[in-house]
């Protein structure tokens, strides 16, 4: 269904964002294999990114709800692209 597609699409985007940002941060000089410290970094980075996603989601939805209530926004949320 459409509902599942939105959730699946979002999960896929999250995994792609984690891979891009954590590879960028943890594998600065790509060698002939992933080293132990690189794998540790990737694992922790994944957890941190998911935490960041939760923190940002909560902050964003709280803010949108607050803006809706105070009627500062009229339609469709703050302009984000």
């Amino acid at each position: 269904g459409v509902r599942n597609q939105v959730a699946l699409q979002s999960a896929q985007t999250l995994i792609n964002k984690i891979t891009d940002n954590c590879f960028e941060k943890c594998v600065t000089k790509p060698g002939t294999s992933l080293g132990g410290s690189e794998e540790r970094c990737l694992g922790q980075c994944m957890e941190r990114y998911m935490e960041a996603f939760t923190v940002v989601s909560r902050a964003y939805t709280n803010r949108i709800a607050k803006e809706r209530q105070s009627q500062l926004l009229n339609t469709g949320g703050v302009a984000l692209h």
Binding site: S10, Q44, R48, A52, S57, Y60, A79, L80
Partner: protein, 86 residues
């Protein structure tokens, strides 16, 4: 099935799709904000948990970005009114 029912069904479907589209846009905004605020706030090496300052920075980053967005939209509106635009 009567035409009445068909219409009701169509309306419900349209409303459902609209809601899903809105949800999908909210999701997309959250992904964009997470990526941007991650780059701004998580600048040190990755640890087993966030530093206090990093988590605070993430929350503030979202709110200050939305403040900045509203501030800029407001300035644009003011400029448009001054210019005597529509």
């Amino acid at each position: 099935m009567s035409a009445q029912t068909d219409e009701a069904l169509e309306k419900e479907l349209a409303s459902f799709l609209e809601q899903e589209t809105a949800k999908s846009q909210v999701q997309s905004s959250i992904h964009t904000l997470t990526d941007m605020c991650w780059k701004k706030c998580v600048t040190g090496s990755i640890g087993a948990r966030f530093a206090r300052s990093e988590e605070g920075c993430l929350v503030n980053c979202v709110d200050r970005f939305l403040d900045s967005s509203l501030f800029i939209i407001q300035k644009v509106e003011e400029a448009r009114k001054q210019a005597g635009g529509q």
